[in-house]
Homo-oligomer: 115 residues x 2
DNA sequence: ACAGCTACCTTGCGTGGCCATATAGTGTCG
DNA sequence: CGACACTATATGGCCACGCAAGGTAGCTGT
């Protein structure tokens, strides 16, 4: 009940933010899905499973934000690398702007600065 | 399509955050729903309609995070004031901890500091 | 053969934000 | 008086996302 409440809220909190993370992680380089999971797992609060990442990447491709290329792996199945398209970079920029505004808004309210 | 994409993402981004806002706004004082809408409307990125605030407040009451008291208004229908319970204050504290961790994680990734 | 890691993908559920809508009290202007 | 606007609360329905669970498949070591 109490821990559940917080856990559920945390799940809601991550909506949208995880997309921003993945898009940010792809800035300036190409990565494959499994790798993204491992890398973000090292950052506090951003741990996510594969069942979360792959749908995000699929959406990005469908929306033209990323493009993919298959490559063989020395240790396992082929990897599907993702890289940003110009449209993806543009979207990332807009998202970062919105993020900065909202983040500062929250911190403003949390600092008890409301009228 | 492009503006829609960003608008939709923004909606997702706000999930959870608006709850945190409302709870924060109630710290140390009592407010009524309509007032919360007006106050948060002054903060960039946190504008929300009444159809968003009232469900949040209802959930908070159902979960025992706030308690309410009706009061007559000099200019309109009666106001329902909300104030935090001890449980609500505790929840707010935990949420702020999670928020700080996630916020810093995002900014860390956005600063291109991933391994 | 089996276990375990790498690597990809899909289905189904639960939840929250928000538009539209309903209800109602108060004040104002033509 | 009647229309409009503001204050104030509340609800139903749609949609998108996060995620646990499950499935497929390749490669390595015992």
């Amino acid at each position: 009940m109490d821990p559940d409440l917080l856990a559920n809220w945390t799940t809601q909190l991550r909506k949208g933010l995880l997309e921003l993370c993945v898009l940010s992680a792809l800035k300036g380089r190409r990565l494959y899905g499994y790798d993204i999971v491992k890398r973000l797992g090292a950052v506090g609060g951003l741990v996510m499973g594969e069942g979360t990442v792959y749908p995000i990447l699929s959406r990005f491709k469908r929306e033209g934000l990323v493009e993919t290329s298959l490559e063989e792996s020395p240790e396992g199945p082929a990897r599907k690398y993702y890289q940003l398209t110009p449209r993806g970079r543009q979207m990332l920029g807009k998202m970062l702007t919105v993020w900065a505004e909202v983040r500062d808004g929250i911190d403003h309210v949390a600092a008890e600065l409301l009228p």
